[in-house]
């Protein structure tokens, strides 16, 4: 319960500071030509008629350890194998607004290293950013659009917190 209110608080805070963030970011003109951008796949989300049934199907036939949100794949980072990395897998209802304004049946989440700097750069490059950066315990998020209308989720993960949350929920990763 405490966690939920913390998340709500984090959300509210990021909404309030959204405009402030935006102006700080757009005024900052760092040279980020050597910026590391996407480092891995953070998740794959897709629409389906019956997410519960789909989760059960993947659990029964393909052995995914699912919970009510999907499954989490666990691996070790290419840049440093002592650090774990995670990719989220989630079926969504067809009516979800989460992929909007994209009309596609899927959305990909990409892991990035320095989201704030990347967003500054992407804006300079004219990439369409659809929201403001949101910060949670388990990482920072923002959404952008590619040139063919696919919505993209960018995630600068905090893998340690992310793993802890899964453990707290009693969820198992798939590996």
């Amino acid at each position: 319960m405490k966690k939920i209110s913390l998340i709500v608080l984090a959300l509210a805070t990021s909404f309030c500071f959204g405009f402030a963030f935006k102006s700080i970011m757009t005024n900052n003109s760092n040279d980020n030509t050597s910026l590391k951008r996407v480092t891995g796949i953070g998740g794959i989300f897709f629409k389906c008629k019956d997410p519960k049934k789909v989760r059960e199907w993947y659990q029964t036939h393909l052995g995914l350890n699912t919970n009510q949100y999907g499954a989490v794949f666990e691996w070790y980072q290419g840049a440093d194998s002592t650090k774990k990395g995670f990719s989220q897998w989630s079926p969504f209802k067809e009516t979800t607004k989460y992929f909007d304004p994209s009309t596609k049946e899927f959305m990909i989440n990409y892991r990035v290293e320095n989201l704030e700097a990347l967003v500054v750069e992407l804006k300079k490059e004219g990439v369409k950013v659809t929201d403001t950066l949101q910060t949670f315990d388990y990482g920072k998020f923002i959404h952008i659009m590619d040139i063919e209308g696919n919505k993209i989720e960018l995630w600068e993960p905090n893998d340690i917190v992310y793993e802890k949350l899964g453990v707290q929920m009693g969820s198992k990763t798939t590996k």
Binding site: I41, K49, G63, Q68, Y69, F73, K104, Y110, Y138, F141
Partner: protein
């Protein structure tokens, strides 16, 4: 609030899910076989794959080339066994996704493809083709409960 829904954050465990997992591991109901171990790839359709690859390279640093990009990671903390997740774009007319009408396809890494295929057939899962073997691994395609085509891959990671 919605966007925390997609991941497992800050929610309490769902009892029915936990029960389901323990049933699955019950030796009486099923011998535990390791199945999918990771995401082997994500493929999606687009109008202009070349233009899109250029965009992803420029703005997100994903260098896809002709055959797509590979994200490299490790299967073990010692960094001895590499794992790859492939990322690629296909034209809208790609036959690779058929009979699925979806605009994406996911490749899952599996441990022992031949015995998994046997089991899936017994379970009544639609298997679309025969296991094909290449230098980089074995492949087969199946359909999920909603007609999404799935590529299963038993990789040779060397």
């Amino acid at each position: 609030m919605k966007n925390s829904v997609s991941r497992w954050a800050a929610r309490r465990p769902n009892n029915s899910t936990t029960k389901m997992i323990s049933n699955m591991e019950d030796p009486k109901t099923q011998t535990k076989m390791k199945k999918v171990t990771g995401i082997g790839g994500i493929f999606f359709k687009c109008k202009d794959p070349n233009k899109m690859k250029e965009w992803y390279k420029t703005h997100l640093g994903i260098d896809a080339g002709q055959y797509g990009a590979s994200f490299e990671w490790y299967q073990d903390a010692e960094g001895k066994k590499k794992g790859l997740t492939q990322w690629n774009l296909n034209s809208e007319t790609a036959k690779l996704y058929e009979p699925s009408a979806k605009d994406f396809m996911i490749n899952y890494r599996v441990d022992n493809l031949e015995s998994l295929v046997e089991e899936l057939k017994k379970e009544g899962v639609t298997v679309l083709d025969k296991v094909e073997t290449y230098d980089y691994g074995k492949f087969v395609h199946i359909l999920d409960a909603e007609g999404n085509k799935i590529q299963l891959w038993e990789p040779t990671d060397e």
